[in-house]
Symmetry: C2
Subunit: 127 residues, 2 copies
DNA sequence: TGTCTTGTATCAACCCCTTGACACAAATAG
DNA sequence: CTATTTGTGTCAAGGGGTTGATACAAGACA
């Protein structure tokens, strides 16, 4: 399951756990990394992996369903919605949002375009 | 004052306001955008600008002082510490962290190096 | 000196997040 | 059908963040 492998909590983050889970899965779906029909780990399973209470993961799943990204059935688990939800957020758009966020943060440091680009290239080489 | 112009709250963020303020100012300092000796806006001033309670901004300032990034004096205001704190985080390192964070997020979407770079270039052109 | 500014401290009140436990409903697997 | 799995609902408890008001302490300023 891609979700188990990909969801990682940042314990130092001020973002509440349920929101980290929700956000990461939402992006995995929007980007097409989690294909329609794919089953997410069970609430208890993911909660155990991330060391969270089941209710916390359940809340993340509920918000994902409310957003139309996911369909849940008791006993049947939670699966990625077949209808690529209204979300016009294709993978490229998600990536574009990430890039834009990077630019916003970098420009707050008064970085030039060249510096911003060079920093990414350097990170690509080292990571 | 650079701080007034640069600190922007994201009301949709799950990150608590005091932490957004603290983090943004910390990065402005670490990156050298706010030079040593520069005076930050007063607690009440910044609180007014950001539509926060004075105590919320005060907490951000307190944590900045605890981190050695800032020196406060009652009646005298809050200024960027002259001693570039232990922080080895030069501007380039902060930028590198941003770039690394971008790569981490992008790779979660299974983006290739080329895509990651292209997305930044596209964002530079459009923004 | 006296006044203004600024940071700090405290308070009660409110809301949100998390936990851990338990029970329940519905689908699946045998 | 039965047992298991899975999502949901509830609950009390505790911790954190925010507000708004008030009061105080200490430097700046005239």
């Amino acid at each position: 399951m891609t979700a188990e492998r990909s969801v990682r909590l940042d314990p130092r983050s001020a973002v509440p756990p349920f929101e980290q889970v929700r956000g990461q899965i939402a992006e995995l779906i929007a980007a097409g990394v989690l294909p329609a029909g794919d089953r997410l780990p069970s609430v208890r399973q993911l909660a155990g992996d991330l060391d969270l209470a089941a209710g916390t993961v359940a809340r993340a799943y509920q918000e994902l369903e409310a957003a139309g990204l996911v369909v849940t059935r008791r006993g049947g688990g939670t699966r990625v919605a077949t209808t690529p939800p209204v979300t016009p957020a294709a993978r490229g758009q998600v990536l574009a949002e990430y890039a834009a966020a990077y630019l916003t943060a970098g420009r707050r440091l008064a970085a030039t375009d060249e510096e911003l680009l060079a920093a990414v290239q350097a990170a690509l080489r080292s990571g």
